[in-house]
Amino acid sequence: MAEASIQPLTVTLKVNGRDYTVTVEPRWTLADVLRHQLGLTGTHVGCEQGVCGACTVLVDGEPARSCLMFAVQMEGHEIVTIEGLTPEAGLSPLQEAFHRHHALQCGFCTPGMLVTATALLNQGKPLTEETVREALSGNLCRCTGYQFIVDAVMDAQGGK
């Protein structure tokens, strides 16, 4: 019989290649634990409903909503956040492209955009404006109108 627990559980999360052992309540979302327990505040929360995409992280290489997962579920999975996509010094080629193309204004959607765009680029498929827009359609941005984000992603693919 599986053990039921309403009490906090201790889990080990692998985030950005590092193991973190944390004690969490089952109801704490991955987004909240990343931000408030691990101090990885680059993952943003904009709706807690799966719509806005600001909280997108990579789980085993694929984009997923950290507001719709619980930290207790994540043992044995590899999580990558925007912090993990950022080189120790300077910017990644994708971040560079965002900078060059003015693909961010307030920057709140940016981490989620970068995460989704990274997953897209990692697929190594040829991109068209249409496929890029489709892949990013689950990441809302209220500032940029998307055009420069699309340009940046397409340019980053060229640069890869």
Partner: protein
């Protein structure tokens, strides 16, 4: 917007999962969490426990073609359904429909079993099950039973599944004839305003979603060759099935998607 407290049960086997459901009548299964967690966050759902079946991923994500039927595990994620070569070859309309669900990050997590059990009236996969005449396999502490899709969906978010049952798999018989799928939504990835599967074979059938509390399947004995007459036929089929108090816009959209799915099934 934070969930109320709940207990956490990690299921390591189907037996464990169904035992937990039996023991905790207020428990809920969590699969992809893409429908359940928003409800938890809004505190619209307050289960005593969550039974996490994700640890069963390896045993519940089969995609198997037997020669006469396709069997899919409950934990097959939408994205995999959309991309899997066997699904694309044997039941292409299903992978097309799956690619219309939400956005990439939602499809990566959301599961076939979750979508079917959740039974959103505007969801693609429940309608696909009805259209494709699927058989749904449910398991509880008492054993396994098979439920035809036509009897499974009973209304808004209501299914034939008992609270202590786990949906483990679906079996789709080899589809006969040519198939089309179409939907209309406000934005890419939104739940459909209306959608339709159309089968053109020895018989013609249209299965709508987004027009009533559950998917609606109608068989047509005759489908006119003339587009205008066909439109009338779709409209009649719809009214026969769901009555005449649908909003005008809804009727127009349902007719439009049926027609589009029909022409795709050429």
């Amino acid at each position: 917007m934070k969930p109320a407290p709940f207990g956490w049960i990690r299921a390591h086997s189907v037996a464990e999962a169904v035992a937990a459901l039996r023991e905790h009548p207020e428990a809920k299964v969590i699969a992809g969490g893409q429908s359940l967690v928003p409800l938890l966050n809004f505190r619209l759902s307050r289960p005593s426990h969550l039974v996490d079946i994700n640890p069963l991923e390896t045993s519940l994500n089969q995609v198997e073609w037997s020669g006469s039927a396709l069997t899919l595990g409950a934990l097959v994620r939408h994205q995999r359904l959309a991309e899997h070569p066997v699904v694309r070859e044997r039941v292409p309309v299903l992978s097309r429909a799956a690619s219309h669900i939400g956005h990439w990050a939602i499809r990566v997590r959301g599961t076939l079993g979750g979508s079917i059990s959740h039974a959103d009236p505007a969801a693609e996969l429940p309608a696909a099950m009805v259209a494709l005449n699927a058989v749904l396999v449910a398991q509880s502490a008492d054993g396994t039973r098979e439920i035809p899709a036509s009897e499974f969906f009973q209304g808004y978010y209501t299914t034939a599944l008992q609270a202590d049952e786990l949906l483990t798999a679906v079996r789709i018989p080899a589809p006969e004839g040519r198939w089309g799928f179409a939907e209309v939504a406000r934005r890419l990835g939104d739940f459909a305003l209306a959608g339709a599967f159309v089968q053109r074979g020895s018989r013609v059938a249209v299965t709508w979603f987004g027009v009533a509390g559950a998917p609606v399947r109608v068989e047509l004995t005759e489908v006119p060759a003339d587009a205008r007459e066909r439109e009338v036929a779709w409209r009649q089929a719809l009214t026969t099935a769901v009555g005449s108090d649908l909003e005008v816009a809804k009727v127009a959209q349902a007719v439009a998607v049926a027609e589009k799915a029909w022409s795709e099934a050429q």
